[in-house]
Subunit: 250 residues, 4 copies
């Protein structure tokens, strides 16, 4: 088993190194990760400039690009041997509900899937996680199960692990993405030279967080496992849309 | 009717100004767009630095951020009056199949929907479009129809218009996203100082492009209209995943 | 006469366009300027990525790089016809005393000189200048004089013009750079996510600003003209340093 | 003795860590360095966004800014105890002649001097130096000499050390900056999407490289020590300029 491991917190993240070590017990691990924090990068690809890839003393390869760039480069020519699976994480901070749309961690997994490999993203619910080993251990459980009994190839998993000791985790739960209330307003302020600047506000609080959602699982100390799709078509709407368009003259 | 208009090619794009003018015949238009080309930005949000917004002589507001940043700022405090609808485009270049995942244009529309507004993204199939007026005209048709007969609020539309004179467009087609063959390999080369650099390769050619897909509609001179979803859950997989996880010990 | 005109405020700056128009009365003007505000860029050159140059509808060429990049590209191959002189400005805001070290405007002129051409940088003392025409007019006076009676080729001039009506300017004064008190402390604050961030503080107030300095000239409504050198050697110190090093064993 | 150490190659540079260790034998060392390669940054200061400073496991502080930003932040509030001297390097690659104008290494030293401290920049002549210990050793010699017999406070030194074993270095030489032939033309090429891109060309070969210059010292296996000035006024030209301006009407 050969894992490609990436993340969006950057190659120096503790979550990355803890997971790299854990995966090492299952097979070979190649780390290709951003050279700095790229949280919020979503699926962005760098098209306007070339990228640089540098092998660090510990063997990790850092790239001056996004998580998607990292996985894309790795799978389209940078690595001599193609990996068998793409893993992204352990992210510091949850990726729940609408967060997934912006997440560089989930995007790294998507890019792996898009290029033909099974892929899993994993996040700890804390920005300063104290129990990364528990999250890594939960991941090993899922990966071992995957090896025995593969999921359909087009299923990406987004895993969120409560930041708790392993013994306090109650098990796995398959979930759907909940959603948040609207984000907080942007913050308008001024720089030291008196010019207006704007910060993107915080994500909103949970809104749709009932049973079955990822929020609910996490809040009850379960590891949340959400199947994610890469096809963004709203298939159930196509037929009605076709009718609707009939009376739309060009 | 008050439109928020954005794009990912930047505020100087001709596609943007042609659409702004066309929308002006239907209502008020506020343009908030990136200060430069941000193609490939996907849904990325700028969280590590503040943004600046500058009103240009023609009234457009340019922001030194991503398309998602532009729509987010506009709807969470920058604009005094909340718009009624978010429009993104006209993008120079198609957004078909897997492109949608990386597209900043579609992301701008998603952000509008995410913050509660109906939203449409529109792209011309050419990188140097000669018939932007035709694309703008097709958009006006869709928007007028929407005003008469609204679609469910959670439906974003991604519209692709063949770069042809209006008289050569055969009508609208509701489509699903097709997909492309795997992207071309990255390009490895060296900079003038002899160091290795890597360019992300071209998108692959069409793979799943049969009847019903956006590729097929475009190739037959129809305007392709694809309903896009923001919820990334693969709902049909949740139940099976729950069973699968039962035998996965933590 | 063919002028290469650049600046550090970006190609949309009013100071740039006012000066371009004024120079047009003396000869041909080619504008190559940064695509955004690059104040504080000093002599920085972009070596790690390629640059893009785009001709705008008004004929200006914008480059996604520093002022030094702009002049460097223009003079090493971008322009078909080599200019006769490099002009940078009109900068919005003074470049006095120690500011010069950080100034992208003065750096653009330095790069012109470095590549063999006479060069002048010009700044208005106001960040929101109301009398750019007066500054442009003063520049025309200097350039006409230069054409009649050239200065030694290795002399760059840095011109600072008080932001006043032409009739209130008392004339030109040759000056030396004064200097400022130490800059204000950096500003420590937190971003909306609670993480520490630091802003570079304001430049300090005038310290050495007596007669003969650029500060003094400006404060008395004179146009300050300072000869700037590109050779950074402290020639008068070399001999003593050689003696000093004699007792420094390797 | 408390040293502030910075560079422009980034905090992971081997030249930086070798020098940090050597300085540790003379006193306390605080490292504040850019988070990535910022070669060519000159004296640029980051004014449009805030900076972030992160303490690494080895105690180094990395900053997402330029070398000048690093020294500026460190001396205007980031460090609790003000250092006694600023050292920049060991740069991988020479800073000779005109290079100095663009060098981030020399700029870091300038910023130290500008904020009131003695300052030295040091570079190895090789981009992949094999004898960093020799360069560090030469620096210790200079610093010890400085402690015994200080130079005038406004003298910055730029030191260039041939990349050779210590026993093959012939001693120190006080030098003036030589200069290079005009830089090579820019390189025009296209990106994978067919759009024109431009790379800044290589620095030109030596031109003024005779006895007394830094080039000459290096070429003869001496450590070159050049006194650098921060005052950019061309003092000897002020008087003539004043006369010249007399006949320049405003």
């Amino acid at each position: 088993m050969h894992f490609l491991l990436s993340n969006d917190d950057g190659y120096l993240s503790e979550g990355l190194s803890v997971l790299a070590e854990a995966l090492g017990t299952l097979g070979r691990v190649t780390v290709v990760a951003p050279d700095r924090d790229r949280s919020g990068a979503s699926n962005s690809l760098t098209l306007t400039r070339p990228l640089r890839a540098t092998q660090m003393p510990n063997g990790y390869i850092r790239v001056d690009g996004t998580p998607t760039d990292c996985v894309h480069l790795a799978l389209t020519g940078l690595l001599e041997n193609e990996p068998d699976m793409v893993i992204a994480g352990i992210n510091h901070g949850a990726n729940l509900g609408d967060d997934v749309l912006y997440s560089g961690t989930v995007a790294a997994a998507m890019e792996g899937r898009f290029l033909g490999l099974p892929a899993i993203a994993v996040s700890s619910t804390s920005f300063q996680p104290a129990h990364l080993e528990a999250a890594a251990s939960a991941m090993l459980g899922i990966i071992r199960r995957l090896c025995d009994d593969p999921l359909p190839r087009d299923t990406i998993l987004s895993v969120n692990v409560p930041d708790r000791p392993l013994t306090e985790l109650k098990g796995f739960q398959a979930t759907r993405l909940g959603n948040r209330h609207r984000a907080e307003g942007m913050l308008k302020t001024t720089d030291p030279r008196g010019r207006s600047i704007y910060w993107v506000g915080q994500a909103g609080p949970e809104q749709d967080a009932g049973p079955g959602t990822d929020f609910h699982a996490i809040n009850h100390d379960y590891v949340s496992v959400t199947p994610i799709k890469v096809d963004l078509t709203r298939h159930e709407a196509v037929e009605h849309l076709q009718e609707w368009l009939l009376t739309c003259p060009i």
